[in-house]
């Protein structure tokens, strides 16, 4: 029996090696909105990847895609991807569909490796279930918290780990965009049902978990500016397991944020660090000051689409597929973001 099992393992290993040593990794994208287009475009130029199929619900977009991509299969249902011998699937659907789509990918054995755009799911219960499925059926997984691949935040993490500002004492974070700034309350425009916390605030929470470790929500307030149960801005306070206290301000109705921006100010025993998508500044207690823009931090990539961090993120996922090893932000680290968001909502409700 043991010999049979060994033979099976060797056979599986041989197949895996054969698959990976073949020309290219076979990848499909589910959901061809702006993030689907962006990832598919980058994947298509990565030398070890072949975009094999796209799954899209909208009939109109599917018809156009069939005329646009002559060598790519276009389907309307995830199940139809199962016979394509895929190495990985990118899930870039609306957030509310992540759970059902990823579940189908695993259960129908469409592919054993999955990349999901952020956040992982619509609540922690779903996120935990996806983690269980990934452990049971999956190989490699990743969630699109692309700011971990930004040169400014990477440098900030490096400096925090080196203790350049000493032990962090407290921090304040923001995640702002102008997506709905100036929109009339009575207009037909609707904010995404998923709310600002899961759409935008999740980036700040993921970075805070990465920088400072797990945290508990102490206070929370969520405001609706457009009515009908919309969540348009949020303010909350957390405390990490190490006793670092943090404040977050999140909104998609702030003027001057043409592209979404996330930033932190961290107070440490030996100084203050300020970091956002564009710049990193250090003010040390001894009077020394440092400032780095993207220009100073080696922001070059092989192909530029959207922002350099998307390329690095996709490159990292492809590397993890080849190495057969998870890199963060994976399902397990990202599920913690969904947990914190659920805590914020519960706290805001019970206020």
């Amino acid at each position: 029996m043991l010999i049979l099992q060994d033979l099976f393992d060797v056979g599986k290993l041989f197949c895996d090696v054969l698959k990976l040593s073949g020309d290219k990794l076979r990848v499909a994208v589910v959901g061809f909105g702006k993030m689907g287009i962006l990832h598919a475009g980058i994947l298509n130029v990565l030398p070890k990847v072949q975009l094999v199929a796209v799954c899209e619900k909208s009939g109109l977009i599917r018809r156009f895609m069939k005329n646009l991509f002559r060598d790519v299969s276009v389907v309307d249902d995830v199940g139809k991807l199962s016979d394509l011998g895929l190495d990985a699937v990118y899930v870039t659907t609306p957030i509310s569909c992540h759970f059902a789509v990823v579940k189908s990918i695993y259960n129908l054995k469409v592919a054993s490796s999955v990349f999901v755009e952020k956040p992982l799911a619509s609540n922690y219960g779903e996120a935990r279930e996806l983690c269980d499925l990934a452990l049971k059926f999956g190989d490699v997984n990743m969630v699109g918290y692309m700011r971990r691949f930004s040169v400014t935040f990477r440098k900030a993490k490096e400096l925090l780990d080196q203790g350049v500002i000493g032990k962090p004492v407290s921090f304040s974070a923001y995640a702002y965009s102008s997506d709905f700034f100036g929109v009339d309350k009575n207009s037909k425009i609707g904010t995404p049902k998923v709310g600002v916390l899961r759409d935008l605030g999740c980036h700040a929470m993921d970075l805070a978990l990465w920088f400072f470790g797990n945290s508990k929500v102490k206070k929370a307030k969520i405001d609706s500016l457009f009515g009908k149960g919309s969540e348009d801005s949020a303010f909350f306070e957390v405390e990490t397991e190490c006793g670092v206290r943090g404040k977050f301000d999140v909104s998609w109705c702030v003027d001057g944020y043409r592209v979404p921006e996330v930033g932190f100010t961290v107070d440490g025993c030996n100084g203050v660090m300020r970091v956002n998508d564009d710049v990193l500044e250090l003010n040390l207690n001894g009077g020394e000051k440092f400032r780095w823009f993207r220009h100073d931090l080696g922001d070059g990539v092989g192909f530029w689409l959207g922002a350099p961090e998307y390329y690095r993120e996709d490159e990292c996922f492809v590397k993890s597929l080849i190495d057969g090893k998870n890199f963060e932000p994976d399902f397990f680290s990202s599920a913690k973001v969904d947990l914190v968001i659920d805590e914020i909502k519960a706290k805001a409700k019970n206020k």
Partner: protein, 300 residues
């Protein structure tokens, strides 16, 4: 090369409140440059000091600026370089309208009510038969008519460039036939076809591979002393630039988004082959005066 042949273009980034150095900087800079009257004044000052063109993304803001430039008689001293679509506005619209299908419906409505019958016919044909080329032609006809209406009959629409995001998505998907259709459509309309790209070396390589005539097109791409946004590297971009058959590249981001001093930025550009011109955004009257004087002095 005579100064008339070299293009010194006023860029519109500050008019949209954009700073690629940091968003914070544009917030601190305030709203002044985004007022169409003030922006038109800056363009006029730049023209008095050596600018001979205006490069702009086609948006309500820039169309208002063009209208004022037309009324003031400045437009006839300018070559116009329009960039379509104004991608960031469309991305924002997609967020507000529930994604790409919602965005498509909104744009289709705009074209339909524009009264441009050629665009409407081509657009309907594109939608009914799911033909990307017909849809692209409808959209381009609509945008060109918007520019011409705002800029008036004395304006010279020299070139229409595909926005960086669209160019680079099409490059990513290797849509050579779409690039070709774009070039043919523009040439048929007597307008120079252009491409704004963040992947200059990649684009040159791809166009060569597809046997597209690089002499037919204008390319706008980042070139600066520190290699900011020069993908995959400064060296690769310089090499690709030197390999072109003729000067048809408009250097953008020459100041690396305000990271470099104008003097050192211009010195670097002056040493490059095949640069047709430069594009620089200005947010203050002093900048408009000094920058274009410097460009005219050092690059002609």
């Amino acid at each position: 090369m005579s100064s008339r042949e070299k293009a010194f273009l006023v860029g519109d980034n500050p008019f949209h409140g954009i700073s690629h150095l940091s968003q914070e900087r544009s917030r601190i800079r305030g709203d002044t440059p985004t007022s169409p009257e003030y922006a038109a004044k800056l363009v006029a000052i730049a023209v008095e000091n050596g600018a001979n063109g205006f490069m702009f993304s086609v948006s309500n803001t820039t169309l208002s600026i063009l209208k004022i430039l037309n009324e003031n008689g400045v437009v006839e001293h300018l070559d116009l370089y329009g960039i379509v679509p104004y991608a960031y506005e469309y991305v924002r619209m997609a967020s507000q309208k529930g994604g790409v299908p919602g965005l498509a419906k909104t744009v289709a409505k705009e074209i339909f009510f524009s009264g441009n019958f050629g665009a409407v016919f081509s657009g309907l044909n594109g939608v009914l038969r799911a033909k990307p080329i017909s849809l692209m032609k409808a959209y381009l006809a609509y945008e060109i008519s918007r520019i011409k209406t705002a800029a008036g009959k004395n304006a010279r629409l020299n070139c229409v460039l595909l926005h960086q995001l669209v160019t680079d998505v099409c490059l990513g998907f290797s849509l050579d036939w779409l690039f070709r259709a774009y070039v043919d459509f523009m040439l048929d309309n007597g307008i120079k076809p252009g491409f704004n790209t963040g992947n200059f070396a990649f684009l040159v390589d791809k166009f060569r591979g597809w046997r597209m005539n690089l002499e037919d097109v204008i390319i706008a791409a980042p070139f600066n002393k520190v290699g900011f946004q020069m993908v995959p590297s400064k060296e690769n971009c310089e090499k690709a630039l030197a390999s072109l058959p003729r000067p048809n590249v408009l250097a953008i981001s020459i100041l690396a988004a305000g990271y470099l001093k104008p003097e050192e930025a211009v010195e670097y550009i002056a040493g490059l082959l095949n640069i047709k011109g430069v594009v620089v955004g200005v947010s203050k009257e002093k900048h408009a005066y000094e920058t274009f004087r410097l460009l005219r002095d050092k690059l002609t």
